[in-house]
């Protein structure tokens, strides 16, 4: 019963607003610490690769951002689904708050991928299944942001955005399994839940630390963003007008 009560309690923007501030602060701290450790390990601790030399080190940015680009989309789709079914305001705000972070992660994955592809493959870009489906993911993020922004009524914007997000979910397994299902220039997964990892331990540790850093960063910025969205959408309510930072 307690858990159930709590869930409903925190689905109210008024109670979530201060909590989001706290989570945001803690996540920022975690992100900075992990990023410092992760970058140090990536550049100075992790060994040179036997085939790609120092160039492979871009993996420590490329893979975490690519993972986050897919994961954030799934989280957004989850919140969008909850928002559609239960008509909760906060879940739609969460989806909206995550979108720019997801888009930037996708962009980083594509951008670093191009910088990696040129020296190793010999091409900035190829239209293989992995690269193309990741580009489609980028367009889905941009499309969601544009669609939400183009509808004035927030509730209608949420619903339209949610439908787009849910339709786009089909792209996520395509991205993930593209290197398995089709012949692609992009290599297969180095790390998988079922088959373990094909990286040396220290490389894997550095990459996982970077992943957690990206994770904490994403939580931090989406929390700050959801606070701004809450204030914007609830600006006419009494609890917002009574906030100390508003009264000042």
């Amino acid at each position: 019963m307690g858990g159930r009560l709590n869930l409903y309690k925190f689905s109210s923007p008024a109670t979530f607003y201060p909590l989001a501030g706290k989570i945001g602060k803690i996540s920022t701290l975690i992100a900075v610490v992990l990023l410092v450790i992760g970058l140090y390990m990536s550049f100075f601790v992790a060994p040179t690769d036997y085939k790609q030399g120092e160039g492979y080190r871009i993996i420590f940015i490329h893979v975490p951002s690519a993972w986050m680009s897919m994961f954030i989309y799934l989280v957004m789709a989850f919140w969008a689904g909850i928002g559609l079914v239960f008509n909760t305001r906060l879940s739609s705000m969460m989806a909206q708050a995550l979108a720019p972070t997801g888009a930037i992660m996708t962009f980083i994955a594509l951008w670093t991928g191009a910088f990696w592809g040129k020296p190793m493959w010999g091409a900035w870009w190829v239209w293989d299944a992995r690269l193309t489906s990741e580009l489609i993911l980028f367009f889905l993020y941009i499309g969601f942001i544009a669609l939400q922004g183009s509808i004035d009524d927030a509730r209608r914007a949420d619903r339209a955005g949610a439908v787009l997000l849910l339709v786009g979910v089909v792209n996520i397994p395509i991205i993930y399994f593209s290197v398995k299902w089709w012949n692609t220039l992009h290599q297969g997964a180095s790390v998988s839940v079922t088959e373990g990892s094909n990286m040396s331990t220290i490389m894997l540790q550095a990459m996982l630390i970077m992943t957690f850093a990206f994770w904490a960063y994403s939580i931090a910025v989406s929390m700050y963003r959801v606070r701004a969205i809450i204030l914007e959408r609830e600006k006419d309510t009494r609890w917002v007008s009574e906030l100390p930072e508003i009264r000042r």
Binding site: W121, G122, V126, A129, L166, V170, W182, L185
Partner: protein, 153 residues
Amino acid sequence: MKARHKRFGFLLVGLVVLGAAAWLVFNALGNNLSYFFSPTEVAENKAPANHVFRLGGLVQPGSLERGEKLTVHFDVTDNAHAVKVAYTGILPDLFKEGQGVIAQGRMGSDGVFVAEEVLAKHDENYMPPEVADALEKGHDKGVADMAKGNKPL
């Protein structure tokens, strides 16, 4: 039935229909989404004969010949079939015998694939050079032991 149960039902049905549609589309597209053809597919005449396609596989060790200027000849193999390739241009850094490549071009009438572009394909293994050396030595030792009639560990 509550309204939200109904909405959840719609959502579920929608997702199932969407998933089925996607599955049908990808089934129909089949191999057309593949970035390249393997030498076996070329040998079975599955690759287009008269227009540009991509050929992927490993550079057969010992097959690399450097001709005049930037022209190179090599065989691309998938360990079942091999295709002769001719290419004029700059090769990517990772290009090596035994390394994966994807060549774009068309089949010549003499059975030699004339490439316009050669890309290197690397695998998903990352390790320090010492580990790679150790693995190779272990592999060589295992092969030598097998040749001597000993069972590998």
